[in-house]
Symmetry: C2
Subunit: 522 residues, 2 copies
């Protein structure tokens, strides 16, 4: 896209705009970068996005003081690929976070996964080092848990959190409990040193993650610029909250988790202001994929007026809440209809640091600073993948579905429903339907819920199809898929004996190594 090229020398303008950001030496210091990444939180979960209980006063204030994107997308309807895309600025099909084991399958990084983030990928914290940034990840990594994939091997200086989802408890025989790391070594396991009470929903993890964020910010604020990636997971099933928040939401346990996160973000923004670094800290809030309606209503969120949820390439699966906050730079109270992507956070962060993205590879993220600082709108497509299958593409207001699928009839009959209460004939299909010859096209402005496909005979359909086809062809012709990382599973690679386990007496013995194809049913 031409817009990417046009924005690469943005740093010059930024320097003028960010004159406040001077380091101790008097030389201009790039702003701190704080990415708040939610887990399975949906577009409709914030008051400012229309959640009826309106229990997110801090996030709503963040929106009022910053810029809200109604049209912002994750890179995938599932967590690992979306997170890999955020940190590489590249679609999962380019960075390896996909599977080819079956057609159009979502895949992620459970602890039996063999793959992870390839060394050949350049992650945001690695690149930010060149501009003097100190980087920390708090929470869920999800880019592979084997030693070579450790976040501190990929540019982060600090880590507090875990490599996989907080599923469990396990018996430590067939399957070990997931470890929690501080930097290089594990400091305990979920359901052991870091309890999660599945019955009551009580866990202190969000409070711990909050404290990690506050401590890091306090330590770094007056020295080097920092990059903090705050990847909390309380809104991912099993949903949890700490005691003071449990039972406080009108929305049940899921709402308790949202309230605790909202409260924590309020405290983080408050600290930035107390330390007088708010105007030198770029903060962005978004989520890794749509709300997991399969877990609703007790453990899943809301995708507002959008169709279906996590796992699907309908809007509910990939349209995300997204807020930018940078007092003194991003004008308060804006709404931008720029089509945004989680991958833009990669390119935008580099631009903030005065860096350009790697030129030896395709980068899918745009630099959003022209949008954030000048209100500019840039033309760009959004691609919706499952595995190596391009399911849909949006350009402007039009979205074309080349394939439709929610899940199989077999899964659906077992009660797995990614679109509970929703059923659009010929759209929310339980067969993987091929529309590549004649895509279903929706106008997302008039029909955000993807309920009324345009008539194939209409001039609007023909015009939209022609525009989208051209962009998709260009994309597909230039695409070089990476080696898929999410094809092979092996029980021997699970978190049996993470580094540091010996100090805690928590090393377990792995079973025999038997690599096999991972089974991805969705």
């Amino acid at each position: 896209m031409a817009a990417v090229v046009a924005a690469t020398r943005w740093w010059q303008l930024l320097l003028v705009l960010s004159a406040a950001g001077m380091g101790a030496s008097g030389a201009p210091q790039p702003p701190n970068i704080l990415l708040l990444l939610m887990d399975d939180m949906g577009w409709g979960d914030l008051g400012v996005y229309g959640e009826p209980s309106r229990e997110t006063p801090n996030l709503d204030r963040m929106a009022a003081e910053g810029l809200l994107f109604p049209n912002f997308y994750s890179a995938n309807p599932l967590c690992s690929p979306s997170r890999a895309a955020l940190l590489t600025g590249r679609l999962p099909i380019r960075n390896g976070f996909y599977t080819t084991n079956a057609h159009a399958r979502n895949a992620y990084t459970p602890q039996e996964i063999v793959g992870g983030i390839p060394d050949s990928e350049q992650l945001l914290p690695e690149l930010l080092k060149k501009a003097g940034y100190v980087s920390k990840i708090v929470g869920k990594w999800h880019l592979g848990h084997r030693p070579q994939f450790h976040p501190l091997k990929h540019g982060f200086d600090e880590w507090f959190g875990s490599p996989n989802c907080h599923f469990g408890p396990y018996d430590n025989k067939a399957r070990p409990n997931i470890p929690v790391y501080r930097d290089w070594e594990m400091v305990g396991r979920y359901y052991e040193e870091f309890p999660i009470n599945l019955k009551t929903g009580e866990a202190n993890l969000t409070q711990i993650y909050l404290q990690e964020a506050l401590d890091f910010i306090k330590r770094q604020a007056r020295h080097h610029p920092f990059f903090l990636y705050w990847a909390v997971d309380a809104t991912h099933a099993p949903v949890y909250a700490s005691k003071p928040f449990l039972g406080t939401s009108q929305r049940g346990r899921y709402g308790d988790a949202v309230r605790e996160i909202d409260d924590s973000i309020g405290k983080i923004l408050e600290l930035l202001q107390d330390l007088h670094v708010a105007d030198n800290t770029f903060v962005f809030f978004t989520s890794d994929n749509g709300a997991a309606l399969i877990s609703a209503p007790e453990q899943g969120g809301s995708n507002g007026p959008f169709l279906c949820g996590k796992q699907t390439t309908f809007e509910g699966g990939m349209r995300e809440p997204a807020l930018a906050w940078w007092p003194g730079h991003v004008t308060a109270g804006q709404v931008s209809h720029q089509l945004g992507s989680i991958m833009d956070l990669f390119t935008t962060s580099l631009a903030l640091a005065g860096l350009t993205p790697p030129s030896d590879r395709a980068i899918d993220g745009l630099n959003l600073l022209p949008t954030l600082l000048q209100g500019r709108l840039m033309d760009r497509p959004i691609f919706y993948y499952r595995g190596d299958t391009l399911m849909a593409a949006t350009l402007g207001q039009h979205k074309a579905h080349f394939w439709t699928w929610t899940n199989s009839w077999e899964n659906f009959r077992q009660g797995i429903d990614f679109c509970p209460g929703q059923n659009v004939s010929g759209v929310t299909t339980h067969n993987l339907e091929d529309h590549t010859k004649l895509p279903l096209i929706f106008h997302l402005g008039r029909d955000p819920g993807e309920r009324f496909p345009l008539s194939f005979a209409s001039a609007e359909y023909q015009e939209a199809l022609s525009r989208i086809t051209s962009v998709v062809q260009q994309h597909q012709e230039a695409l070089v898929p990476a080696q898929p990382q999410l094809n092979v599973c092996n029980w021997a690679v699970m978190n049996w004996a993470p580094p540091g386990c010996e100090k805690l007496g928590k090393c377990l013995t792995p079973p025999e190594s038997i690599p096999k194809k991972c089974l991805w049913s969705h």
Copy 2:
């Protein structure tokens, strides 16, 4: 409800709070009252309620400067009964705006209707006269079009608008075009003197209604307190907008209509401020029923995350956007989870005027001033009727459905769909299903979309059922249904020769009078 009693002497406190509102004599003057009533606008149609295109900057600002209700309800899923309830403070079953021609049927006032608002009903403008108010209705009356039902016979001092919906054009032979009145006499007809271009969607009506509002406010602001009931209908199919707004919305023609109304409301609020009467004018914005999804996406709005739309007793049919604005009195930026009803506007307006509701009849509206001025929450039920059938009731967060129905299979198979893209098994039924023995109960906080009925065996179900049953029994035991007004139709009563037609040479000859039962299919 005890809360109603407790609030009747609210006026004393209000006097203290509203010390700014002094008339020319120095005696306290009650505030002006401005009710902005939308037609078929849905909960999800405002930016501040999560509409993704966010094209309502003036209403969003009104919310930011006032109080937003996420849990506010119309009195019926159809327009005439809801409007009759607003002006009488009473459920349609009490004021006669219902039918008994068939079980659980919605009914309204097309021009062949014989009935209308009974003289025995006391309407808000009639009562406000006692406190010196001058009242005007701009737009759609819909409480009967025969001479005895004329708004100027029921307390309004001025009228510009029409008695029925702007359907048409008609041939003036089988059916006359709907008249537009100024005060006592018609001044033309839709599609004739007041054109609506069905092809382009162009009509100047919202601009005319805006001008009527501005003129009235300018005339009244410095004299008597005024009651202005601004009942515009551009968002009711056939949807229309004036030329400067046509084609400007990302949402298509429906959005054009919303944008023009939003712009008009901005101008009205601006005038109140320019005239320095904003702090002495109570403004309330809401809608008569949920968005008409049957007309979506071109001519229908959005009910956000809620189930179904107009015509149904699911949340999408009756939960409404609602904003209160009264600078200096209603604190800016509030959200109240008070369960509110359109009927509360009757009682609240009386309280503002220092009046109490009639004591010789049941009044369903609460005085919301304790909520608006002091943030108090009052316990009260919401009743959802079709005809004389109590379909559902909400108390606190729990909603019980005693009957479920969207529309008949016959209608549905003809393409009439009140829940497009939505299908909740056993809930969005096409048979009129009797659940009176074992109601379906939903928790609207956890499950605003009414997708997950509580388990009949749960303690939560039993507790909620017991609370709701008690309130419903109390309601039904005390209920005295009025004579139903919407049972009889007659082509002879249509708008053949409205008063003033002779001056315009627009009198038509009525056919023979043949009263018959109205057919209500939904």
